[in-house]
């Protein structure tokens, strides 16, 4: 760990006056990702800008029915919020499946969107890693990759995006509100995280100095919702495979469906192929399994993670089944 300068800001314009944030400087919210990586010497900000006093702690319903969440709302608060519980249960379940109570109390909505991969080689400054040090190579490709991704990988990086919350948000549909030195803009949640491609060091569409101020959830989709997280132990572990499913029925047929995946992909993953395979079809186990297969057509297995293709499909089929049961209830 290296020493850094700490500055607290009270207002958003003050926060976004730091043009070197994300490039030599860093915002800090809950600190559960940042400080971990600073202590490991993986992130080495010279200056840390504390944003926790900014007025971004509210959850409010907009006139158009969407739900606007401040970037500093904690994971616990968001998961337990009555509107989230009622209208976005898949998000609440995703949040509560993540980390531990203590971490969720500290973790912020914005910080969760920005959390870094748990690839062990990324976290070890003495090992080559293209994401940490572009051009040094990917240690995971021929190393221990049981926890790595099978979807969205490239020959330069196969690390997963570890968030549960983001998977719930992709399923629910959301927009990110960003405030930067050059003003405000909005980005569709699904377009925000980037595939590793040739540049695994670029993880998201955030310009220097930009701050996530809000996440706005689409108007509620209704239907039956479920988040299923599969892992080794029963709690306090990142997903090996997870699925957020929202199913609306018209009689026995699936009228609308959203499927998002975690633990298997390099970014919070919308499984559009699965959705297309199921939409308009009878809500049967067979069709759930077909949809699951469709989601992994392009998957690539590495030395220790081929099982994730099977496990990911199982997560989809089971999540769809349980979401459908709720849609029927």
């Amino acid at each position: 760990m290296r020493a850094f300068e700490l500055e607290s800001v009270e207002a958003i314009d003050q926060a976004v006056s730091h043009r070197r944030v994300h490039d030599g400087e860093a915002f800090i919210a809950g600190g559960t990702t940042l400080l971990d990586l600073v202590k490991l010497d993986v992130m080495q900000p010279e200056k840390v800008v504390d944003v926790t006093r900014l007025p971004l702690k509210r959850i409010e319903t907009l006139e158009d029915g969407r739900l606007k969440i401040g970037a500093l709302v904690s994971n616990t608060e968001l998961a337990k919020h009555e509107i989230v519980l009622r209208d976005y249960p898949v998000l609440s379940e995703a949040l509560l499946s993540g980390a531990s109570t203590g971490l969720r109390n500290m973790a912020s909505t914005g910080g969760n969107v920005m959390q870094r991969t748990r690839c062990p080689y990324f976290r070890d400054p003495d090992m080559p890693c293209n994401k940490r040090e572009p051009g040094t190579g990917c240690s995971a490709l021929d190393g221990i990759n049981r926890n790595h991704a099978v979807l969205g990988t490239s020959e330069h990086c196969i690390a997963t995006h570890p968030s549960d919350m983001c998977v719930g948000m992709v399923a629910a549909g959301a927009t990110l509100v960003l405030e930067g030195p050059d003003g405000q803009r909005e980005v569709a949640f699904e377009d925000y995280h980037l595939l590793p491609g040739d540049h695994p060091e670029r993880e998201h569409d955030l310009k220097p100095g930009e701050l996530i101020t809000h996440v706005i959830l689409d108007t509620p989709r209704g239907g039956g919702q479920h988040y299923l997280k599969l892992r080794d132990r029963a709690s306090y572990e990142f997903a090996l495979a997870s699925c957020a499913a929202i199913v609306s029925l018209d009689g026995d047929n699936v009228s609308e469906v959203r499927v998002a995946l975690g633990g298997v992909a390099t970014k919070p993953w919308r499984a559009t192929a699965a959705e297309e395979a199921l939409k308009g079809q009878p809500a049967t186990q067979e069709n759930f399994e077909r949809a699951a297969d469709a989601a992994f057509t392009d998957a690539v297995a590495y030395s220790h993670n081929g099982y994730k293709i099977t496990l990911g499909k199982q997560a989809i089929a089971r999540a769809l089944r349980d979401a459908t049961a709720r849609a029927r209830a």
């Binding site: 760990m1 290296r2 020493a3 010497d41 748990r118 062990p120 080689y121 070890d124 003495d126 090992m127 240690s139 490709l141 021929d142 190393g143 221990i144 049981r146 926890n147 299923l228 599969l230 080794d232 132990r233 029963a234 709690s235 306090y236 572990e237 990142f238 090996l240 998957a299 690539v300 297995a301 590495y302 030395s303 081929g306 099982y307 293709i309 099977t310 496990l311 199982q314 997560a315 089929a317 089971r318």
Partner: protein, 740 residues
Amino acid sequence: MSDSIIGAGPKRIDGQRKVTGEAPYAADHHPDNMAYGYGVFSTIASGTITGLDLEAARQSPGVIDIFHHNHFPELHRTPSSMAQGNKVEETRLPFEDNRVHYEGQFVALVVADTFDNARAAARKVGVSYQRDDAIANLDQGVKAHGTKPGSGNHERGDAEGNFDGAAHSIDVTYTTPVETHNPMEMHASVASWEGDRLSIFESSQGVVQQRGALSKIFGIPPSHIRVESPFIGSGFGSKLWMWPHAVAASVAARETGRPVQLVVPRPQMFTTTGHRPETRQRMRLATDDNGRLVSLRHESINTTSFTDQYVETCGSVTQSLYSCPNLTVSHETTRVNRGTPTSMRAPGAAPGLFALESAIDEMALAAGVDPLEFRLNNYADRDESQDLDFSSNHIREATEKAAEKFGWHDRNPEVGSMRDGHEIVGYGMAACNWEAIKRECEARVSLRADGTAYVTCATQDIGTGTYTIIAQTVSDITGLGLEKITVRLGDTSYPNGPISGGSWTTATTLPAVAAATREAIKELKGYATSEKGDFADVDNDSDSLVFENGQLTHDGQGVNYVDVLKGQKLASADGHAHTQGADDRYSYRSFGAHFVEVRWDPGISNLRVSRVVSAIDVGRVINSLTARNQVEGAIVMGLGMAHFEATDYDARNGRPVNNNYAEYVVPVHADQPPEVDVILLDYPDLEFNEFGARGIGEIGITGMAAAVANAVYHATGKRIRDLPIFKEKLMENIPAVQSA
């Protein structure tokens, strides 16, 4: 001895201090003017340090000194003898030379005025290496340089000759990965010197051995060294023997002239403080037509370090658990670039019984016999390896009782036949077993004029309840309430006590404490019968002079012991005792059996242990609460061993990659089986000691992993011979690797 308090379940007497944070752990000590050490650790697993760039670190704020192989005083190695009381596991001293034997080895130590400054400066130390190819795992070790014979071997009859022609036989190999102890509290030392006297607070399971080792290393008498470890945040064996950090901290304190605190960071808890080594165990078993064992071979190889020979005695239980005239147990080691392994809860037996009890299951199936039946048919009635009777053995009763409670007889033996909704249920069982050991011990007890008792012994309470059972012992003999009894442990200024390991603390310390208590009473009687005493005309050792409930009575006349002391203006009556280790009239062992129900949901590849019933025969139970807690904890640790635990070393360079609490997976609360039923048989083993207690810390983990694996086989038809039982080992239709 009254039965009231021995065997009862009083809560831990140190519990309140622990939960309120008042109990001081090693790193809670901050002597005046203390400086902080932070290590620089090797980033290669094998090679030579060719250069150190210290400039930037020296310029870093607060830095006092930086130690390394060219700047470290000459010390001596300890002969590392447990009998002499100076054992360590890693005999090489830190900074002894420029060689690197494992990743995460100390290569420098920065001492600074604050922890943060020390850590920041440590990161600025540049180290250059000449890197050699690392031997990263057991297979690579065997390939590179074969094996070396280990200890604890045993041979009787002709196992080989009776294998080939036998009616049924199996020849299977099991492997277990490295497990890391990962106690919650990190290893820590706080060392200070006054002249040539060293005082050190340590998170230690063995203060006396550490004092002995430091004495040899620094060449100063043991009486000049004080090691204190009154509380420890568990150790599971990793804190039995001193590790290099304690030597480094002591040197740093001496050279800088300031007390120095050194805490081992979590990642290096995976490298420089021991681990359970990797094992490969070949099991060859054969039976006759009736399913009686006629040949049994257990051949084990474990990894050790390049600096030391550590033998994981996987076959220790195999020698005596089953009756078999033709038996071979052998242990070999192979060197790899890892730190030196050490004992981890039930060393030898935990990995050994995974192999043995899985193999017994496989053997029973091959012979067409129910695994429970098979065991009852083959359990040994005497210790055939030593040709001795067991002092007390109720394994049949334990097995039958647990089977009954579990409902084994409702088991449909057909694989995958028991279903509950979309889950497949599997039943498995395994025997458990651990040796009973009793060591030499000293203790001191004072009956004080303020109506309290004060007990000291240089053993430790590692969270198991030693403070409490020692107080129970004194209470039992004196009649004083537990709140009147102060117990002090974990300090070498007290009479020599044993390491807290091997499940021998109870059997070792209680007899010493009881003897010291009786000595104190004798001294008190001496005062009472002296000229000035209340019973001046009574004979000192007359049987009619009894001490009961804090009173000395004779002929119906009673005097409180406090008045005896006060009458003569005395502070206390004191007793000291020195008791001996166990004799060799019998084979002393503990026994038991685990029954496990697993649920496998093939739809989502989810495996859970849903029910455990264990019956344990450990002699007399001293404290029913802490005893049960030990077995339940060991069961959970056994589940971790079965399901999750493995330190992953990168085969390319020997680095452990999951060196943190998030990725090294141990069971959490949500993994606890909904039902854990522990039956403690509670038959006193009076051949072993006056309390009849054998010790209970380790037996519960033995056999657990096999019981789970056997249940998994029953549910899925998959025989998992390589721990841990990760879900992908049970899954079907896993796509092939598509990339290099």
